[in-house]
């Protein structure tokens, strides 16, 4: 019987979209049966049209090409600029796009579950999300996670 990996994805920024999709796609390639439970901001990763952003605000560890005072980082347009710079850098380094990694997860039959409670809480429209996902709650997650070999909260 194959090993199992269960992931909870709770974040919806461009940088934090990577760990769940990288680990899930790689685990699937290694033969793991893999499931990701998307909750709260993690649900943004399931949108058909991804518009994920990155910001240095509240994240003093983010490497910057030049030092920028925090109050400047909050100026209008800064988030868009940082997102563009990050995407450009990722492309130049041969890092896959989030869309590509997600597609590879789908191809590898990684099961994706959207938290129904979050959908209701934020009045999300399920038609905005990709097809082929399931909707469920904490008990749904534990059904798989309870038998998993590795369980990650991201």
């Amino acid at each position: 019987m194959s090993k199992k990996l269960a992931i909870i994805a709770t974040k919806g920024s461009l940088d934090w979209a990577y760990p769940p999709f990288i680990l899930a796609s790689t685990a699937a390639a290694l033969g793991y049966e893999t499931q990701i439970f998307f909750t709260f901001y993690g649900l943004q990763l399931l949108r058909k049209n991804l518009d994920l952003q990155v910001t240095s605000l509240g994240n003093p560890a983010m490497p910057m090409p030049m030092p920028v005072p925090v109050f400047m980082q909050a100026l209008p347009g800064m988030q868009g600029m940082m997102t563009r710079m990050m995407k450009k850098k990722m492309k130049s380094k041969g890092v896959a796009s989030v869309e590509e990694l997600r597609e590879l997860c789908i191809e590898a039959e990684v099961k994706m579950i959207a938290c129904q409670m979050t959908v209701d809480l934020f009045d999300f429209n399920t038609s905005d999300f990709i097809d082929g996902i399931e909707y469920g709650g904490a008990a749904t997650f534990f059904e798989f996670a309870g038998e998993s070999d590795i369980c990650l909260y991201i």
Binding site: I22, S25, T26, A29, L30, G31, K93, G94, V95
Partner: protein
């Protein structure tokens, strides 16, 4: 090592793409056939070793030349 059945150019790609592409390419081969992967990601050296150990596909040979890493993987 010269003989292989299929070649995968994973140069310029970063983690985890070389592994994912290799997995896909191996899927098209039959048991015993050999996949030759060329990569530039330095992390791929350790990753292909781990990939082989965990999937049972044998890493016959690996090497580096001029910043390019080469892996010969035999499908289990």
């Amino acid at each position: 090592m010269a003989h292989f059945d299929e070649e995968l150019d994973a140069t310029g790609l970063n983690c985890p793409l070389p592994i994912l592409r290799a997995k896909k390419a191996l899927g098209k081969l039959s048991s015993g056939q050999i996949l030759h992967v060329i990569a530039t990601d330095p992390g791929s050296v350790k990753d292909f070793d781990s990939f082989a150990k965990q999937t049972g596909n044998e890493l016959l040979e690996s090497g580096e030349e001029g910043g390019k890493y080469s892996f010969y993987i035999k499908k289990s």
